[in-house]
């Protein structure tokens, strides 16, 4: 069996991890589910997990973010319960990206409305010739 574990990170005003867990249980699919502080971890057969999570995403397309996870929930060598606490590997990455999820959600909404963002004027690097001129001007004779 080709197993797959995916983590669902929730940044929603209308959906809670418990809502997703209930919906997953209602599906009666043969998957392992773990409710966490950031969302839900789902582990099971690849096709089943993908189909289930496609449905879950529809609950709030702008507030639910999904990525694959290497380890299944509760793996002893990564689970904090057996490693006496502390951040597990990957936590810092989620913590950093979790802060920008509201921005990404707003951007996805804008994209669906067909909004085209203004291209920002990027600062150009200083021309070498201009830099040489500045050096000459500031030289103390």
């Amino acid at each position: 069996m080709d197993t797959l574990t995916k983590m669902v990170v929730i940044n929603s005003e209308k959906v809670l991890p418990s809502d997703i867990v209930i919906k997953l249980y209602q599906s009666k699919a043969d998957v392992m589910i773990k409710e966490t502080c950031f969302g839900v971890i789902v582990s099971g057969e690849r096709s089943v997990v993908n189909t289930l999570l496609d449905e879950i995403r529809k609950m709030d397309p702008y507030g639910i973010f999904i990525k694959e996870r290497g380890l299944a929930p509760g793996e002893q060598y990564r689970c904090r319960a057996t490693r006496r606490g502390g951040a597990r590997p990957g936590f810092h990455s989620i913590e950093t990206e979790n802060k920008m999820l509201p921005l990404i959600a707003a951007a996805l909404k804008a994209l669906d409305k067909g909004e085209i963002p203004k291209q920002k004027q990027r600062k150009k690097k200083l021309d070498v010739e201009r830099f040489k001129e500045i050096i000459k001007q500031t030289e103390v004779s």
Partner: protein
């Protein structure tokens, strides 16, 4: 198409690539394979006899073993990539959670592969985020249109 993402464990990039109909190539799937099929505890800290050979494809024997260990995980991602999305200087890959030399090498290899490449910065404001998502969606659409 298979799209390599950097940072290779990014939630945002992985989600956006999948959302826009492509397959993200992320480090999690390689770790998952090793954990599930070879029962390794903590790749790349635990490795198989094949892994050093993969690492040596990219880095010489005198290079720190951490670089070669990481490269053995990155090898299938880099070799299968049809396109890439790279975020510059992501904070989580700096310091003890990352490896600066591996990151430089990965970025170099992706550029050297001459595949379609999108380079971005992580957004810090709503306008930046709109530009970030718009550029990614346009890039991924262009890949689909190019394939047709």
């Amino acid at each position: 198409m298979k799209v390599f993402i950097y940072p290779t464990n990014s939630l945002v990039l992985s989600d956006l690539v999948e959302r826009f109909g492509h397959e993200p190539l992320a480090i999690m799937q390689e770790i998952g394979k090793k954990v599930r099929t070879q029962s390794l505890d903590s790749p790349p800290i635990n490795i198989t006899p094949e892994d050093p050979k993969l690492g040596l494809k990219y880095a010489a024997v005198e290079v720190p073993s951490g670089v070669r260990g990481r490269m053995s995980l990155f090898d299938p991602l880099i070799s299968n990539a049809d396109a890439a999305i790279v975020v510059h200087d992501p904070a989580p890959s700096f310091g003890c959670m990352g490896c600066a030399r591996t990151n430089e090498l990965v970025n170099f290899l992706i550029r050297a592969k001459k595949i379609p490449l999108l380079e971005l910065d992580y957004p810090s404001s709503e306008d930046d985020a709109k530009e970030f998502v718009y550029k990614i969606s346009r890039f991924l659409k262009s890949l689909t249109e190019g394939k047709k």
